[in-house]
């Protein structure tokens, strides 16, 4: 919660202690018999690092568990670990026209025992903006449903085969200096006659500007 504050406090305390120690260890300067006063001045500039565009991921993997299966479709659901985009730049540091986005695409689900793979088109997601700030200029991506579903938006029943938006802004400058978090409901929907066994897929999330 207040780790940076605490650290600053601690560092301050430590430097005070050290300063005290240093003062005690320099009797030559403190010698009252020395009549020459040497004035030492120093200007310490504030260290100002340029800001960055950073990605955070709660590094849990996603386990999908069966939930909501019907006679025709088996459904496995899970939640994408929370993804946070932090932009610590000042608006002046952001190039004009810059825009960042986190895109996601999945590989086919490959069976561990040589079963036929389940194509990435069977994996859908619904991104959920958890913290979008106050500008309204950071938005979550649209829902993508799977190839076994009816489209909920024109043509969105394709699955995560291609690059799909998780979260994005069209104007980095307007949203700089804040952080934004998002997760997503994931669902794998397969025909009921899919071969049993364990499968694995890799979901790639990419932050570029």
């Amino acid at each position: 919660m207040s780790t940076p504050n605490r650290k600053r406090l601690v560092a301050g305390a430590a430097s005070a202690v050290l300063a005290g120690t240093l003062a005690l260890q320099s009797p030559a300067v403190a010698d009252p018999g020395d009549s020459t006063d040497v004035e030492v001045t120093v200007d310490i500039e504030e260290i100002r690092e340029p800001g960055v565009l950073a990605l955070s991921i709660a590094a849990d993997s996603v386990a999908l568990s069966e939930d909501g299966s019907t006679l025709l479709v088996r459904q496995f659901v899970g939640t994408l670990p929370t993804v946070t985009v932090s932009d610590t730049r000042t608006p002046e540091e952001v190039p004009d026209g810059a825009a960042w986005a986190v895109l996601g695409s999945a590989t086919d689900f490959v069976g561990a025992a040589g079963q036929a793979p389940i194509s990435a088109g069977h994996l859908g997601w619904k991104p959920k903006l958890l913290d979008g700030g106050e500008t309204g200029q950071v938005t979550e991506g649209e829902e993508v449903v799977t190839v076994v579903d009816e489209p909920t938006q024109p043509g969105n029943n394709v699955g995560l085969v291609d690059q799909e938006l998780l979260v994005s802004t069209f104007d980095s400058e307007a949203v700089a200096g804040n952080s934004y978090s998002v997760n997503a409901d994931l669902y794998l929907r397969t025909p009921a006659d899919v071969a049993a066994g364990s499968y694995a897929s890799t979901l790639t999330l990419s932050l570029f500007e």
Partner: protein, 355 residues
């Protein structure tokens, strides 16, 4: 040296502080505190000393030339992290988002020109600068060869492993003749009527715009809609967002204020522009397409029909009324005549009888 020296004692202080204060006061708490699993990192273009403020790397190379560049991997997490470093071909999605090919797809162009060490270990709250080379093959074609470079972490286990990447663009341009070309294809026009017959409708134009040149371009141009004999011509400005070579965009524009005059001839012309001006001697090839649609003035026809019907109805009603009046008059006249004759007939025997 100058930049790092004032910070080294600061860092030492922080470490000392942590040792001096946290250990005696809360030794158990410090040990038992779970490390947060959240990883935070950033990747920036750099020189040997650290991030140099560039947004991305845009080298211009002759075929066969090699340059060494650097990337800074900055770990903001509480623990040491081993990142995989990857480079791949870059592209723009249909919504204009830059991405590079995922690990399971093979790069064939700019992505294969980048050589970087496979892994880098970065301490907690630390930055590591890693060199990488970009080699333009001797047979490289002139123009842009977009790629990306990224630091990646992969969480395994579970059904879905998550590979997360943060990176920046490496837009290598190979010297030679630069061609800026945009092609316009599959132009369709749909006329949308306004239901108010006194206001014009809208023409929705959809087309594909493809970068047929060898450099990244944006496009500006004009859509022109003309009625029969060039009547009621309307223009609208069209824009095509940044497109990489071989990349395409779907463009959707609306031209307002179009009256439905029957045959509407529509042309779209787009002129490409190299981002940032480009080098001298750019060969520019604009693209254009034309389509004709029919727009029939249904609301106006409906209005005319209603008016005609009203006029006819009024005329019919008036005529009927006139006819009825005439008929009534005629009947009244007939009746009058009849009455007169009857009264004459009745009258004469009476006269006779009276006689």
């Amino acid at each position: 040296m100058i930049r790092t020296s004032p910070r080294a004692p600061l860092r030492l202080l922080a470490v000392l502080a942590a040792v001096l204060v946290t250990v005696p006061i809360a030794p158990v708490g410090a040990v038992a505190e779970p490390t947060t699993p959240t990883l935070t990192w950033a990747v920036q273009p750099a020189n040997q000393n650290g991030p140099d403020g560039r947004r991305w790397i845009e080298p211009t190379l002759d075929p066969g030339q090699v340059v060494t560049e650097h990337l800074a991997v900055r770990n903001f997490s509480d623990g040491i992290v081993v990142f995989s470093l990857k480079a791949a071909d870059g592209y723009l999605t249909d919504k204009g988002r830059f991405n590079m090919l995922p690990s399971h797809q093979t790069s064939v162009d700019g992505g294969t020109w980048i050589k970087v060490q496979q892994k880098v270990t970065v301490g907690a709250k630390a930055t590591k600068v890693v060199p990488f080379t970009i080699t333009a093959p001797s047979g490289a074609t002139p123009g842009d060869h977009p790629a990306g470079i990224a630091a990646t972490v992969t969480s395994t286990g579970g059904t879905v492993a998550v590979e997360s990447r943060v990176g920046f663009r490496v837009m290598t341009r190979v010297t030679g003749t630069v061609t800026a070309a945009l092609a316009v294809s599959d132009l369709t026009a749909t006329y949308r009527q306004s239901w108010n017959p006194f206001s014009p409708g809208t023409l929705r134009l959809r087309y594909g715009s493809t970068n047929a040149g060898n450099v990244a371009v944006t496009g500006t141009g004009q859509a022109t809609v003309a009625g029969p004999f060039g009547l009621a011509t309307r223009d609208a400005r069209v824009e095509v967002a940044e497109t990489l070579p071989d990349g395409g965009r779907e463009v959707d524009t609306r031209v307002t204020g179009i009256w439905a005059l029957g045959r509407l001839h529509t042309t779209v012309e787009v002129t490409p522009a190299v981002l940032g001006g480009g080098p001298a001697g750019v060969e520019t090839r604009p693209g254009s397409a034309a389509v004709t649609v029919w727009a029939l003035p249904w609301p106006q026809l409906a209005l005319v029909t209603i008016l005609v019907a009203l006029v006819l109805a009024v005329r019919t009603v008036v005529r009927r009324r006139r006819q009825r009046l005439a008929k009534l008059l005629a009947r009244a006249r007939d009746e009058g005549r009849e009455e007169g004759r009857e009264s004459a007939l009745v009258g004469s025997p009476a006269k006779e009888s009276a006689n």
